[in-house]
Protein backbone atom coordinates (compact mmCIF):
# COMPACT_ATOMS: atom_id res chain seq x y z
CA UNK A 1 0.00 0.00 0.00
CA UNK A 2 1.16 3.50 -0.84
CA UNK A 3 0.98 6.78 1.11
CA UNK A 4 -2.06 8.94 1.74
CA UNK A 5 -4.57 9.19 -1.09
CA UNK A 6 -4.17 12.94 -1.59
CA UNK A 7 -0.50 12.42 -2.53
CA UNK A 8 -1.47 9.80 -5.10
CA UNK A 9 -4.07 12.17 -6.54
CA UNK A 10 -1.62 15.08 -6.60
CA UNK A 11 0.84 12.96 -8.58
CA UNK A 12 -1.90 12.47 -11.14
CA UNK A 13 -2.64 16.17 -11.35
CA UNK A 14 -5.82 16.11 -9.26
CA UNK A 15 -5.81 19.19 -7.05
CA UNK A 16 -7.11 19.27 -3.49
CA UNK A 17 -9.92 21.59 -4.52
CA UNK A 18 -11.00 19.23 -7.30
CA UNK A 19 -11.16 16.48 -4.70
CA UNK A 20 -13.10 18.66 -2.23
CA UNK A 21 -15.57 19.59 -4.94
CA UNK A 22 -15.98 15.93 -5.85
CA UNK A 23 -16.61 14.98 -2.22
CA UNK A 24 -19.21 17.75 -1.83
CA UNK A 25 -21.14 16.36 -4.80
CA UNK A 26 -20.74 12.78 -3.62
CA UNK A 27 -22.04 13.67 -0.13
CA UNK A 28 -25.01 15.39 -1.74
CA UNK A 29 -25.80 12.29 -3.82
CA UNK A 30 -25.53 10.10 -0.73
CA UNK A 31 -27.98 12.39 1.08
CA UNK A 32 -25.40 13.16 3.74
CA UNK A 33 -25.43 16.60 5.42
CA UNK A 34 -23.39 19.22 3.50
CA UNK A 35 -20.67 19.30 6.17
CA UNK A 36 -20.05 15.60 5.49
CA UNK A 37 -18.45 16.51 2.15
CA UNK A 38 -15.59 18.22 3.96
CA UNK A 39 -15.29 15.44 6.53
CA UNK A 40 -15.23 12.86 3.73
CA UNK A 41 -12.56 14.79 1.87
CA UNK A 42 -10.36 15.03 4.96
CA UNK A 43 -10.75 11.39 5.88
CA UNK A 44 -10.32 10.09 2.35
CA UNK A 45 -7.36 12.35 1.61
CA UNK A 46 -5.52 10.85 4.57
CA UNK A 47 -6.71 7.28 3.97
CA UNK A 48 -4.42 4.61 2.59
CA UNK A 49 -5.68 3.01 -0.54
CA UNK A 50 -7.38 -0.29 0.27
CA UNK A 51 -6.57 -3.32 -1.82
CA UNK A 52 -9.50 -4.34 -4.00
CA UNK A 53 -9.86 -7.70 -5.70
CA UNK A 54 -12.54 -7.75 -8.36
CA UNK A 55 -13.71 -11.18 -9.50
CA UNK A 56 -15.92 -11.67 -12.55
CA UNK A 57 -18.10 -14.77 -12.48
CA UNK A 58 -21.13 -15.64 -14.60
CA UNK A 59 -21.62 -12.17 -16.06
CA UNK A 60 -21.69 -10.07 -19.24
CA UNK A 61 -19.13 -7.40 -18.20
CA UNK A 62 -21.94 -4.83 -18.38
CA UNK A 63 -21.28 -3.83 -14.75
CA UNK A 64 -17.63 -3.13 -15.52
CA UNK A 65 -18.69 -1.23 -18.64
CA UNK A 66 -21.10 0.88 -16.63
CA UNK A 67 -18.45 1.68 -14.08
CA UNK A 68 -15.50 2.35 -16.36
CA UNK A 69 -17.48 4.27 -18.97
CA UNK A 70 -19.31 6.52 -16.53
CA UNK A 71 -19.86 10.05 -17.74
CA UNK A 72 -17.02 11.99 -16.26
CA UNK A 73 -13.70 10.13 -16.33
CA UNK A 74 -12.25 12.29 -13.59
CA UNK A 75 -15.24 11.68 -11.35
CA UNK A 76 -15.88 7.95 -11.15
CA UNK A 77 -12.43 7.36 -12.63
CA UNK A 78 -11.13 8.90 -9.46
CA UNK A 79 -12.24 5.85 -7.56
CA UNK A 80 -9.54 3.90 -9.34
CA UNK A 81 -7.07 6.26 -7.72
CA UNK A 82 -8.68 5.74 -4.34
CA UNK A 83 -8.22 2.01 -4.42
CA UNK A 84 -5.41 -0.32 -5.27
CA UNK A 85 -7.13 -2.51 -7.82
CA UNK A 86 -5.00 -5.63 -7.54
CA UNK A 87 -7.05 -7.99 -9.70
CA UNK A 88 -9.59 -7.17 -12.42
CA UNK A 89 -9.46 -9.46 -15.43
CA UNK A 90 -10.92 -6.98 -17.89
CA UNK A 91 -8.59 -4.13 -16.94
CA UNK A 92 -5.36 -5.79 -15.83
CA UNK A 93 -2.40 -6.17 -18.14
CA UNK A 94 -1.33 -9.51 -16.70
CA UNK A 95 -2.89 -12.73 -17.95
CA UNK A 96 -2.81 -16.44 -17.20
CA UNK A 97 -0.58 -17.60 -14.37
CA UNK A 98 0.77 -14.07 -13.79
CA UNK A 99 -2.75 -12.77 -13.14
CA UNK A 100 -3.57 -15.61 -10.74
CA UNK A 101 -0.25 -15.01 -8.97
CA UNK A 102 -1.12 -11.29 -8.58
CA UNK A 103 -4.39 -12.24 -6.93
CA UNK A 104 -2.73 -14.61 -4.52
CA UNK A 105 -0.07 -12.04 -3.62
CA UNK A 106 -2.71 -9.37 -2.95
CA UNK A 107 -4.76 -11.81 -0.88
CA UNK A 108 -1.76 -12.85 1.19
CA UNK A 109 -0.33 -9.32 1.72
CA UNK A 110 -3.68 -7.77 2.66
CA UNK A 111 -5.26 -10.71 4.46
CA UNK A 112 -8.33 -9.63 6.41
CA UNK A 113 -8.20 -6.12 4.96
CA UNK A 114 -9.02 -6.23 1.26
CA UNK A 115 -12.37 -5.47 -0.33
CA UNK A 116 -13.75 -8.14 -2.59
CA UNK A 117 -15.91 -6.99 -5.50
CA UNK A 118 -17.91 -9.65 -7.28
CA UNK A 119 -19.84 -9.27 -10.49
CA UNK A 120 -21.79 -12.17 -11.91
CA UNK A 121 -23.66 -15.04 -10.34
CA UNK A 122 -22.15 -18.32 -9.23
CA UNK A 123 -23.29 -21.53 -10.97
CA UNK A 124 -23.59 -24.56 -8.70
CA UNK A 125 -24.81 -27.26 -11.10
CA UNK A 126 -22.32 -29.82 -12.50
CA UNK A 127 -19.96 -28.97 -9.62
CA UNK A 128 -19.77 -25.40 -10.92
CA UNK A 129 -18.32 -26.47 -14.26
CA UNK A 130 -20.42 -23.87 -16.12
CA UNK A 131 -18.01 -21.09 -15.20
CA UNK A 132 -14.35 -21.65 -14.38
CA UNK A 133 -11.26 -19.47 -14.27
CA UNK A 134 -7.86 -21.14 -14.57
CA UNK A 135 -9.54 -24.53 -14.24
CA UNK A 136 -11.20 -23.71 -10.93
CA UNK A 137 -14.91 -23.20 -10.38
CA UNK A 138 -16.31 -19.80 -9.41
CA UNK A 139 -17.60 -21.32 -6.19
CA UNK A 140 -14.13 -22.48 -5.24
CA UNK A 141 -12.50 -19.12 -6.07
CA UNK A 142 -15.22 -17.15 -4.25
CA UNK A 143 -14.87 -19.17 -1.07
CA UNK A 144 -11.09 -18.78 -1.10
CA UNK A 145 -11.19 -15.02 -1.80
CA UNK A 146 -13.99 -14.33 0.72
CA UNK A 147 -12.02 -15.87 3.56
CA UNK A 148 -9.53 -13.01 3.83
CA UNK A 149 -11.90 -10.21 2.77
CA UNK A 150 -12.91 -7.38 5.10
CA UNK A 151 -16.16 -6.99 3.20
CA UNK A 152 -17.74 -8.05 -0.07
CA UNK A 153 -19.42 -5.80 -2.63
CA UNK A 154 -21.85 -7.67 -4.89
CA UNK A 155 -21.82 -5.49 -8.01
CA UNK A 156 -24.91 -5.85 -10.20
CA UNK A 157 -28.08 -7.90 -10.01
CA UNK A 158 -26.35 -11.20 -10.86
CA UNK A 159 -23.96 -11.06 -7.90
CA UNK A 160 -26.68 -9.59 -5.66
CA UNK A 161 -29.61 -11.85 -6.50
CA UNK A 162 -28.56 -14.32 -9.20
CA UNK A 163 -29.79 -12.06 -11.99
CA UNK A 164 -30.44 -13.15 -15.56
CA UNK A 165 -28.42 -16.40 -15.30
CA UNK A 166 -30.85 -17.39 -12.55
CA UNK A 167 -33.90 -16.73 -14.77
CA UNK A 168 -36.22 -19.72 -15.17
CA UNK A 169 -35.33 -22.50 -15.63
CA UNK A 170 -31.90 -21.49 -14.27
CA UNK A 171 -29.93 -23.98 -16.38
CA UNK A 172 -26.63 -23.49 -14.54
CA UNK A 173 -28.00 -23.47 -11.01
CA UNK A 174 -26.93 -19.85 -10.56
CA UNK A 175 -27.01 -18.30 -7.08
CA UNK A 176 -26.01 -14.97 -5.54
CA UNK A 177 -22.95 -14.18 -3.40
CA UNK A 178 -25.08 -13.98 -0.25
CA UNK A 179 -26.44 -17.47 -0.95
CA UNK A 180 -22.93 -18.81 -0.43
CA UNK A 181 -21.06 -16.47 1.90
CA UNK A 182 -22.69 -16.11 5.29
CA UNK A 183 -19.92 -14.85 7.57
CA UNK A 184 -18.84 -11.59 5.88
CA UNK A 185 -20.53 -8.19 5.52
CA UNK A 186 -22.00 -8.02 2.01
CA UNK A 187 -23.26 -4.91 0.22
CA UNK A 188 -25.55 -5.53 -2.73
CA UNK A 189 -25.39 -2.94 -5.52
CA UNK A 190 -28.06 -4.35 -7.84
CA UNK A 191 -29.01 -2.96 -11.22
CA UNK A 192 -28.52 -4.23 -14.73
CA UNK A 193 -26.15 -2.45 -14.83
CA UNK A 194 -25.90 -0.61 -11.50
CA UNK A 195 -25.50 3.18 -11.32
CA UNK A 196 -21.74 3.86 -11.17
CA UNK A 197 -21.94 6.50 -8.45
CA UNK A 198 -23.46 3.97 -6.04
CA UNK A 199 -20.24 1.95 -6.20
CA UNK A 200 -18.20 5.12 -5.68
CA UNK A 201 -20.42 6.11 -2.78
CA UNK A 202 -19.99 2.77 -1.03
CA UNK A 203 -16.21 2.89 -1.41
CA UNK A 204 -16.11 6.52 -0.24
CA UNK A 205 -18.20 5.59 2.79
CA UNK A 206 -15.86 2.72 3.59
CA UNK A 207 -12.77 4.92 3.27
CA UNK A 208 -14.31 7.75 5.31
CA UNK A 209 -16.04 5.94 8.14
CA UNK A 210 -14.23 2.60 8.00
CA UNK A 211 -17.57 0.84 7.76
CA UNK A 212 -20.16 -0.07 5.19
CA UNK A 213 -23.20 2.18 4.69
CA UNK A 214 -26.59 1.40 6.20
CA UNK A 215 -28.38 -1.32 4.23
CA UNK A 216 -32.01 -2.17 3.58
CA UNK A 217 -33.62 -5.61 4.00
CA UNK A 218 -32.25 -6.71 0.62
CA UNK A 219 -28.70 -5.67 1.48
CA UNK A 220 -28.73 -2.44 -0.55
CA UNK A 221 -27.33 0.93 0.62
CA UNK A 222 -30.32 2.94 1.84
CA UNK A 223 -28.85 6.21 0.60
CA UNK A 224 -29.42 5.09 -2.99
CA UNK A 225 -32.14 2.45 -2.70
CA UNK A 226 -34.26 4.11 -0.01
CA UNK A 227 -37.15 5.04 -2.26
CA UNK A 228 -38.93 3.60 -5.26
CA UNK A 229 -38.44 4.87 -8.79
CA UNK A 230 -42.14 5.72 -8.71
CA UNK A 231 -41.92 7.89 -5.60
CA UNK A 232 -39.16 10.03 -7.08
CA UNK A 233 -40.42 9.97 -10.68
CA UNK A 234 -41.07 13.33 -12.34
CA UNK A 235 -44.14 11.72 -14.00
CA UNK A 236 -45.62 10.89 -10.63
CA UNK A 237 -48.09 13.85 -10.65
CA UNK A 238 -49.75 12.31 -13.72
CA UNK A 239 -50.20 9.04 -11.86
CA UNK A 240 -51.86 10.91 -9.02
CA UNK A 241 -54.13 12.65 -11.54
CA UNK A 242 -55.00 9.33 -13.19
CA UNK A 243 -53.39 10.30 -16.51
CA UNK A 244 -51.84 7.27 -18.21
CA UNK A 245 -50.27 6.55 -21.59
CA UNK A 246 -52.17 3.56 -23.05
CA UNK A 247 -49.83 2.84 -25.96
CA UNK A 248 -46.33 4.03 -26.80
CA UNK A 249 -47.61 6.41 -29.49
CA UNK A 250 -50.86 7.84 -28.15
CA UNK A 251 -51.58 11.36 -26.97
CA UNK A 252 -50.78 10.40 -23.38
CA UNK A 253 -47.35 9.07 -24.35
CA UNK A 254 -46.61 12.28 -26.27
CA UNK A 255 -47.68 14.34 -23.30
CA UNK A 256 -45.35 12.37 -21.06
CA UNK A 257 -48.04 10.84 -18.86
CA UNK A 258 -47.46 7.98 -16.44
CA UNK A 259 -46.28 4.68 -17.98
CA UNK A 260 -47.84 2.46 -15.32
CA UNK A 261 -50.32 0.84 -17.71
CA UNK A 262 -47.53 0.15 -20.20
CA UNK A 263 -45.83 -2.06 -17.66
CA UNK A 264 -43.61 0.36 -15.74
CA UNK A 265 -42.21 -1.43 -12.66
CA UNK A 266 -41.33 1.85 -10.95
CA UNK A 267 -43.78 1.37 -8.05
CA UNK A 268 -42.04 -1.83 -6.86
CA UNK A 269 -38.44 -0.95 -7.79
CA UNK A 270 -35.98 0.64 -5.40
CA UNK A 271 -33.17 2.50 -7.16
CA UNK A 272 -31.82 6.02 -7.70
CA UNK A 273 -32.34 6.35 -11.49
CA UNK A 274 -35.05 9.01 -11.08
CA UNK A 275 -32.71 11.33 -9.19
CA UNK A 276 -29.16 10.44 -10.23
CA UNK A 277 -30.18 9.62 -13.84
CA UNK A 278 -27.83 8.15 -16.47
CA UNK A 279 -25.17 9.35 -18.91
CA UNK A 280 -24.02 12.22 -16.77
CA UNK A 281 -27.52 13.21 -15.73
CA UNK A 282 -28.77 13.37 -19.34
CA UNK A 283 -31.82 11.15 -19.01
CA UNK A 284 -33.13 7.85 -17.71
CA UNK A 285 -35.50 5.16 -19.03
CA UNK A 286 -38.80 6.78 -17.98
CA UNK A 287 -37.69 10.17 -19.26
CA UNK A 288 -36.96 8.56 -22.63
CA UNK A 289 -40.51 7.19 -22.71
CA UNK A 290 -40.04 3.61 -21.58
CA UNK A 291 -41.23 2.12 -18.33
CA UNK A 292 -38.84 0.89 -15.66
CA UNK A 293 -37.92 -2.82 -16.00
CA UNK A 294 -37.26 -3.19 -12.30
CA UNK A 295 -33.66 -4.34 -12.85
CA UNK A 296 -32.51 -3.70 -9.28
CA UNK A 297 -35.03 -6.12 -7.79
CA UNK A 298 -34.54 -9.87 -7.24
CA UNK A 299 -35.97 -12.04 -10.04
CA UNK A 300 -36.91 -9.01 -12.15
CA UNK A 301 -36.45 -11.19 -15.22
CA UNK A 302 -39.22 -13.50 -14.11
CA UNK A 303 -41.52 -10.92 -12.52
CA UNK A 304 -44.22 -10.71 -15.20
CA UNK A 305 -43.89 -9.34 -18.73
CA UNK A 306 -42.01 -6.05 -19.13
CA UNK A 307 -45.03 -4.55 -20.90
CA UNK A 308 -47.66 -6.05 -18.65
CA UNK A 309 -49.02 -3.60 -16.12
CA UNK A 310 -48.50 -4.48 -12.49
CA UNK A 311 -51.73 -6.09 -11.38
CA UNK A 312 -54.60 -3.76 -10.67
CA UNK A 313 -57.45 -4.09 -8.21
CA UNK A 314 -60.53 -5.63 -9.87
CA UNK A 315 -62.49 -2.40 -10.06
CA UNK A 316 -60.48 0.73 -9.34
CA UNK A 317 -63.54 2.96 -9.89
CA UNK A 318 -65.27 1.37 -6.93
CA UNK A 319 -62.58 2.75 -4.63
CA UNK A 320 -62.96 6.17 -6.20
CA UNK A 321 -66.72 6.11 -5.78
CA UNK A 322 -66.47 5.08 -2.15
CA UNK A 323 -64.10 7.91 -1.41
CA UNK A 324 -66.31 10.39 -3.25
CA UNK A 325 -69.34 9.41 -1.14
CA UNK A 326 -67.46 10.35 2.01
CA UNK A 327 -67.36 13.81 0.54
CA UNK A 328 -63.80 14.17 -0.68
CA UNK A 329 -63.01 15.90 -3.96
CA UNK A 330 -62.64 14.00 -7.21
CA UNK A 331 -58.89 14.57 -7.33
CA UNK A 332 -58.42 13.01 -3.92
CA UNK A 333 -60.65 10.11 -4.93
CA UNK A 334 -58.58 9.35 -8.00
CA UNK A 335 -55.42 9.62 -5.93
CA UNK A 336 -56.95 7.15 -3.50
CA UNK A 337 -57.83 4.70 -6.27
CA UNK A 338 -54.30 4.94 -7.58
CA UNK A 339 -52.81 4.37 -4.18
CA UNK A 340 -54.80 1.21 -3.81
CA UNK A 341 -53.65 0.25 -7.29
CA UNK A 342 -50.08 0.54 -6.10
CA UNK A 343 -50.82 -1.46 -2.98
CA UNK A 344 -52.43 -4.17 -5.11
CA UNK A 345 -49.41 -4.21 -7.35
CA UNK A 346 -47.10 -4.74 -4.43
CA UNK A 347 -49.05 -7.58 -2.89
CA UNK A 348 -49.71 -9.42 -6.15
CA UNK A 349 -46.29 -9.27 -7.77
CA UNK A 350 -46.74 -11.81 -10.53
CA UNK A 351 -44.44 -14.41 -11.93
CA UNK A 352 -44.10 -15.01 -15.65
CA UNK A 353 -45.45 -18.24 -17.01
CA UNK A 354 -44.54 -19.86 -20.29
CA UNK A 355 -47.91 -18.68 -21.64
CA UNK A 356 -46.95 -15.06 -21.08
CA UNK A 357 -43.84 -15.48 -23.14
CA UNK A 358 -45.64 -17.18 -26.00
CA UNK A 359 -48.58 -14.77 -26.03
Amino acid sequence: MQGPLIDTLARQGVSRRTFLKYCATLASMMALPPAAGLAMAEAMAAARRPSVIWLPFQECTGCTESFTRSHSPTLEGMIFDMISLDYQETLMAAAGHQAEAARHTAMRDNAGKYLLVIDGSIPLDQDGAYSCIGGRSNLDILKEAAEGAAAIIAMGTCASYGGIPKANPNPTGAVSVSDIIKDKPIVNIPGCPPIPVVMTGVLAHYLTFGSLPELDAKGRPKAFYGETIHDRCYRRPFYDQGKFAKTFDDEGARRGWCLFELGCKGPVTYNACATVKWNGGTSWPVESGHGCLGCSEPDFWDAGGFYKALSLPADPLKFAAAAAVVGTGAGVAIGFANRSKKGGAKSAHETTTLDDLEA
Partner: protein, 143 residues
Protein backbone atom coordinates in the same frame (compact mmCIF):
# COMPACT_ATOMS: atom_id res chain seq x y z
CA UNK B 1 -25.71 18.29 -30.36
CA UNK B 2 -28.09 20.47 -28.41
CA UNK B 3 -31.49 19.04 -27.52
CA UNK B 4 -33.40 21.90 -29.14
CA UNK B 5 -32.00 20.89 -32.55
CA UNK B 6 -34.22 17.81 -32.46
CA UNK B 7 -37.55 18.88 -34.03
CA UNK B 8 -39.81 17.36 -31.40
CA UNK B 9 -42.20 19.52 -29.50
CA UNK B 10 -42.19 18.66 -25.79
CA UNK B 11 -45.86 18.64 -24.86
CA UNK B 12 -45.27 18.39 -21.14
CA UNK B 13 -43.17 20.94 -19.41
CA UNK B 14 -41.66 19.32 -16.31
CA UNK B 15 -44.32 19.60 -13.62
CA UNK B 16 -43.99 22.43 -11.15
CA UNK B 17 -42.08 24.55 -13.63
CA UNK B 18 -42.58 27.47 -14.10
CA UNK B 19 -44.48 27.61 -10.84
CA UNK B 20 -43.22 28.15 -7.33
CA UNK B 21 -43.63 25.16 -5.03
CA UNK B 22 -43.66 27.23 -1.86
CA UNK B 23 -40.60 25.38 -0.59
CA UNK B 24 -38.20 28.29 -1.01
CA UNK B 25 -39.40 30.87 1.58
CA UNK B 26 -38.77 28.58 4.61
CA UNK B 27 -35.15 28.28 3.46
CA UNK B 28 -34.67 31.99 4.09
CA UNK B 29 -35.48 31.38 7.75
CA UNK B 30 -32.93 28.58 7.86
CA UNK B 31 -30.33 30.91 6.34
CA UNK B 32 -31.14 33.46 9.07
CA UNK B 33 -30.51 30.80 11.73
CA UNK B 34 -27.24 29.80 10.12
CA UNK B 35 -26.03 33.40 9.83
CA UNK B 36 -26.87 33.93 13.49
CA UNK B 37 -24.86 30.82 14.38
CA UNK B 38 -21.94 32.07 12.29
CA UNK B 39 -21.89 35.39 14.16
CA UNK B 40 -22.25 33.81 17.58
CA UNK B 41 -19.93 30.81 17.32
CA UNK B 42 -18.09 31.24 14.03
CA UNK B 43 -19.47 27.87 12.93
CA UNK B 44 -20.03 27.66 9.17
CA UNK B 45 -22.94 25.70 7.70
CA UNK B 46 -24.53 24.91 4.38
CA UNK B 47 -27.82 23.97 2.74
CA UNK B 48 -27.71 21.33 0.02
CA UNK B 49 -30.05 22.71 -2.63
CA UNK B 50 -29.88 19.66 -4.89
CA UNK B 51 -31.23 17.47 -2.08
CA UNK B 52 -34.38 19.57 -1.65
CA UNK B 53 -37.58 19.49 -3.72
CA UNK B 54 -37.05 22.88 -5.38
CA UNK B 55 -38.21 23.81 -8.87
CA UNK B 56 -36.02 25.94 -11.14
CA UNK B 57 -38.42 28.78 -10.39
CA UNK B 58 -37.84 28.29 -6.65
CA UNK B 59 -34.09 28.51 -7.17
CA UNK B 60 -34.48 31.67 -9.26
CA UNK B 61 -36.70 33.15 -6.55
CA UNK B 62 -34.14 32.36 -3.84
CA UNK B 63 -31.26 33.68 -5.89
CA UNK B 64 -33.16 36.87 -6.62
CA UNK B 65 -34.07 37.40 -2.97
CA UNK B 66 -30.50 36.85 -1.79
CA UNK B 67 -29.16 39.12 -4.52
CA UNK B 68 -25.59 39.51 -5.74
CA UNK B 69 -22.73 40.70 -3.54
CA UNK B 70 -19.32 42.11 -4.22
CA UNK B 71 -17.30 38.92 -4.53
CA UNK B 72 -17.62 36.26 -7.21
CA UNK B 73 -15.10 33.42 -7.12
CA UNK B 74 -14.59 31.13 -10.08
CA UNK B 75 -12.85 27.81 -9.54
CA UNK B 76 -11.55 25.74 -12.44
CA UNK B 77 -11.34 22.19 -11.12
CA UNK B 78 -12.68 19.47 -13.43
CA UNK B 79 -15.42 21.82 -14.56
CA UNK B 80 -16.22 25.30 -13.40
CA UNK B 81 -17.46 26.09 -9.92
CA UNK B 82 -18.77 29.47 -8.87
CA UNK B 83 -18.75 30.66 -5.27
CA UNK B 84 -20.57 33.98 -5.23
CA UNK B 85 -21.29 36.07 -2.20
CA UNK B 86 -24.89 37.21 -2.09
CA UNK B 87 -26.05 40.66 -1.08
CA UNK B 88 -26.04 39.31 2.49
CA UNK B 89 -22.36 39.10 3.51
CA UNK B 90 -21.42 35.65 4.74
CA UNK B 91 -24.06 33.95 2.59
CA UNK B 92 -22.57 32.34 -0.50
CA UNK B 93 -24.26 30.73 -3.48
CA UNK B 94 -22.09 27.78 -4.53
CA UNK B 95 -22.58 25.91 -7.81
CA UNK B 96 -20.41 23.00 -8.91
CA UNK B 97 -20.43 22.10 -12.59
CA UNK B 98 -18.81 19.21 -14.45
CA UNK B 99 -16.64 19.51 -17.58
CA UNK B 100 -19.73 19.51 -19.76
CA UNK B 101 -21.14 22.46 -17.84
CA UNK B 102 -24.00 20.56 -16.19
CA UNK B 103 -24.71 21.38 -12.56
CA UNK B 104 -23.41 18.61 -10.28
CA UNK B 105 -24.49 20.10 -6.98
CA UNK B 106 -25.61 23.41 -5.56
CA UNK B 107 -25.34 24.82 -2.04
CA UNK B 108 -26.03 27.92 -0.01
CA UNK B 109 -22.97 28.22 2.21
CA UNK B 110 -22.93 30.38 5.30
CA UNK B 111 -19.31 31.18 6.16
CA UNK B 112 -16.89 34.08 6.38
CA UNK B 113 -14.97 32.43 3.53
CA UNK B 114 -16.11 29.15 1.89
CA UNK B 115 -13.77 26.29 2.72
CA UNK B 116 -13.03 25.65 -0.94
CA UNK B 117 -11.59 29.15 -1.42
CA UNK B 118 -9.03 28.82 1.38
CA UNK B 119 -5.64 27.39 0.54
CA UNK B 120 -4.79 24.23 2.49
CA UNK B 121 -1.63 24.48 4.67
CA UNK B 122 -0.11 21.45 2.93
CA UNK B 123 -0.64 23.07 -0.46
CA UNK B 124 0.83 26.34 0.84
CA UNK B 125 3.89 24.38 2.00
CA UNK B 126 4.24 22.94 -1.51
CA UNK B 127 4.02 26.47 -2.91
CA UNK B 128 6.76 27.57 -0.51
CA UNK B 129 8.96 24.74 -1.75
CA UNK B 130 8.41 25.87 -5.33
CA UNK B 131 9.32 29.46 -4.42
CA UNK B 132 12.46 28.38 -2.60
CA UNK B 133 13.42 26.18 -5.51
CA UNK B 134 12.93 29.14 -7.83
CA UNK B 135 15.26 31.32 -5.74
CA UNK B 136 17.84 28.55 -5.46
CA UNK B 137 17.64 28.11 -9.22
CA UNK B 138 18.19 31.82 -9.84
CA UNK B 139 21.17 31.85 -7.49
CA UNK B 140 22.53 28.84 -9.30
CA UNK B 141 22.23 30.77 -12.59
CA UNK B 142 23.99 33.81 -11.08
CA UNK B 143 26.97 31.75 -9.86
Amino acid sequence: MKLDVIPIHVANQPPGEPGLSGNAPPLLREVVEQVRRLIESGEPSAIDLSALPLTPADLDWLQEKLGAGEIAVTLQASGESTLNETACPGVWWVTHRNEQGAVNSQFIEVAFVPELVKAHPQDVALGLETLEFMIADRQGDAD
